[in-house]
């Protein structure tokens, strides 16, 4: 973001520089200037993103337990041991990691699908002007605007077994269950987590799709209507294809955010999530912070990073190829 913003105005001045070719040092200076201006951003980027990442990778090759955390340098190198422990799926640590991985994949797919579906549906309904549209649009964005911690804490209260609103409605009023259910422990915790995640995530999909819809020319719909296309036909033939580039980015971003989400499960379940909702981010946190074994935790993080890189790469490859054939 910063890089392009900095580069643009500088490039515009370069034709002016070309008019005086005699002053070579000055020209050199001007060519160097954009890079010089980029330097702070570059260093910050290094500092905030790359350096910690590299340190994390280094840590994953060390036996960084409680005996060494005070002085990392003294921690002995452990080669690939941390990785071996993480991917030995017959042993408890690897088995738990694999279980957590599958839970996370299932959870992410469901959450992204629901977020996208609800967000897109709401955005399409909000396209036509009607009284109170602005109010509804603002209302829909509230979950996205609320601080995560406050919002999820509220959900914790609602999901409580004894006094929670959810049980009050489902059990006391609608009599849908024989007895009040537990939402924060046991198997139901998966659905509790999914509910909060979708509630928190769909407004973003709504916002992005809504923005995408503004770019579709009205005439297309008018022409389609003249040709006798109904609402569903219009959505299938015009809206969705036009939203393709928007959706491509939206789904990737939603996927990465949901897969890596730490706040929601952590606030909902605390340090030890129930097995049914044991998301990988909290699992890794527990492997490093609660058992004080930062080496294994880092190895797991590196594996997660590799997985997400592969998924993102394959996704971009597939979608861009699809778009190229569509363009051709």
């Amino acid at each position: 973001m910063t890089a392009t913003a900095l580069e643009e105005p500088v490039r515009k001045t370069s034709p002016g520089a070309a008019r005086e070719p005699r002053r070579r040092p000055g020209r050199l200076r001007r060519i160097g200037l954009p890079y010089l201006l980029l330097l702070p951003a570059l260093l910050l980027e290094l500092l905030v993103h790359l350096v910690p990442m590299v340190i994390g990778i280094v840590m994953s090759f060390k036996e960084l337990t409680q005996f060494y955390i005070r002085d990392w340098g003294t921690a002995p190198w452990s080669g690939l041991d941390n990785y071996k422990v993480s991917v030995d799926f017959d042993a408890p640590v690897g088995e738990a990691l694999l279980h957590s991985f599958f839970v996370t994949v299932g959870f992410t797919l469901l959450s992204v699908a629901l977020c996208w579906l609800i967000g897109t549906a709401a955005a399409i309904y909000m396209q036509d002007t009607f009284r109170g549209r602005g109010f509804l649009r603002a209302l829909f964005l509230v979950p996205y605007a609320l601080p995560v911690y406050a919002a999820v804490i509220t959900w914790v209260f609602m999901f409580q077994h004894d006094n929670g609103l959810v049980n009050h409605v489902l059990h006391d009023q609608l009599h849908l269950t024989d007895k009040p259910s537990f939402w924060l422990i046991g198997d139901n915790s998966f659905y509790a987590l999914l509910t909060v995640s979708v509630w928190k995530g769909w407004p973003f999909a709504f916002l992005i799709v809504m923005a995408g819809l503004q770019n579709i020319p009205r005439e297309l719909y008018e022409a389609a209507a003249l040709d006798g296309a109904g609402m569903l036909q219009q959505i299938r033939r015009i809206t969705l294809p036009s939203l393709r580039p928007v959706n491509q980015v939206l789904i990737l971003v939603l996927f990465l955010w949901t897969f890596n989400d730490f706040n929601t499960p952590y606030v909902l379940f605390g340090k030890s999530a129930p097995a049914a909702a044991d998301l990988i981010s909290v699992h890794i946190y527990q492997a490093s912070f609660v058992t004080w074994n930062f080496g294994t935790g880092s190895a797991m993080s590196v594996l997660l990073l590799l997985f997400l890189l592969v998924v993102t790469g394959v996704y971009l490859l597939l979608t861009s190829r699809g778009r190229r054939t569509a363009d051709a």
Binding site: L44, K271, W292
Partner: protein
Amino acid sequence: MRSIRAAAVGAVTMSFALALTACGGGSSSGGGSNDSPKTLTYWASNQGASIAVDKQVLQPELDKFEKQAGIKVKLEVVPWSDLLNRILTATTSGQGPDVLNIGNTWSASLQATGALLPWDAKNFDKIGGKDRFVDSALGSTGAEGKDPAAVPLYSMAYALYYNKQILADAGISKPPATWHELTADGKKIQAKGKTTLGAEGSNLSENIHHVFVFAKQHGADFFTSDGKPDFTNDNVVAAVKQYVDLMAKDKVVPTGDAEYAQNQSVSDFAKGKQAFLLWQSAAANLKSQGMSEDAYGIAPVPVQSGTPGTGAQVNSMVAGINISVFKNTKNLDGATQFVKFMTSDDEQKILNKAYSSIPPVKAAQEDAAFNSPSNAVLKSTLATSAAALPQVASESQFETAVGTAVKDLFADAAAGRAVTTDSVKAKLEKAQQQMPAA
């Protein structure tokens, strides 16, 4: 042109500044110095009903210290949910407080990191000597055979708090002394529409404190004498099962308690919904929730049979808070002086009264306030029937692994699934496999 040059200079300067701050991060190999003798940072644990209460209790004392020693103490009260993480972060970065409170069960784990100042004879002499402290409290300050990593500050013990009115209504004349009596009483209490006993099923530390005592009562320990985990020992399994069975089989703990982790069971007791509460030094907490001191009584925690004592008659862990000096402190002398102040007879009386705990300092225990009937129960428990949690380096991992196993078992019980010897053993086996190999 001039503005471009200015921009370039700005960019370069900023880059250098960034590079410098990046390199200026904490060096963690230091061993304490006296570079800043006029200030101290103190991380206090949350002992009162809220953080605000803690500040009210501690600030006047810190002001007193500033007057005496000329050292300003910056106070931060850290909630329990964050304290261990904050200490770990401070340990890894080398940037931390000068003096801090730690849960006494963490002593050995934190000692192993080397982040805390060892209290050898020389350091103990600076605060008046080791003899000033009660033995049971000193037993929870670090691994055996090593210099303690901390000094006892507040001592607490578990007791059985009972609601006098509920017991009278159910026709029970005295609080139960054995678990058998407690479950029998439970039937009478529940017949009157009240619940019997509270538990914090999702609070890992609470789970550990209780199963530790049950294990003792079954003549078992979670660790072998040479410090190896031994969670699947038959007696340990029986002990854990007995605790979870309070909900699963005896039905004296309501199933809703399986998800409690925020002291909701204390509120249930304070509101008069529940007859019994197993808690450590609950008086101040109950008072802040509006329960009058006359409404409840305090009895020793039940045992299997007979009366509380040592060995299988243990009925509490040695609960408490220790105070430590961070090894990287820039004010070593001041920090030691502050520990001396906080463990002085006078301060011990003031602070332990405010927090309804028992002073681990012998002389301070003599004060009349600690001889009231309720405190007498806590004091005699600490003196005769409390045992320290395992003082091993992997204690904090043990709390997480076994605490989670018990939490899962409570979840099973709450969902109506059977809790059997096999299911308990399977959970404990999984917990044991998660323990570090060393």
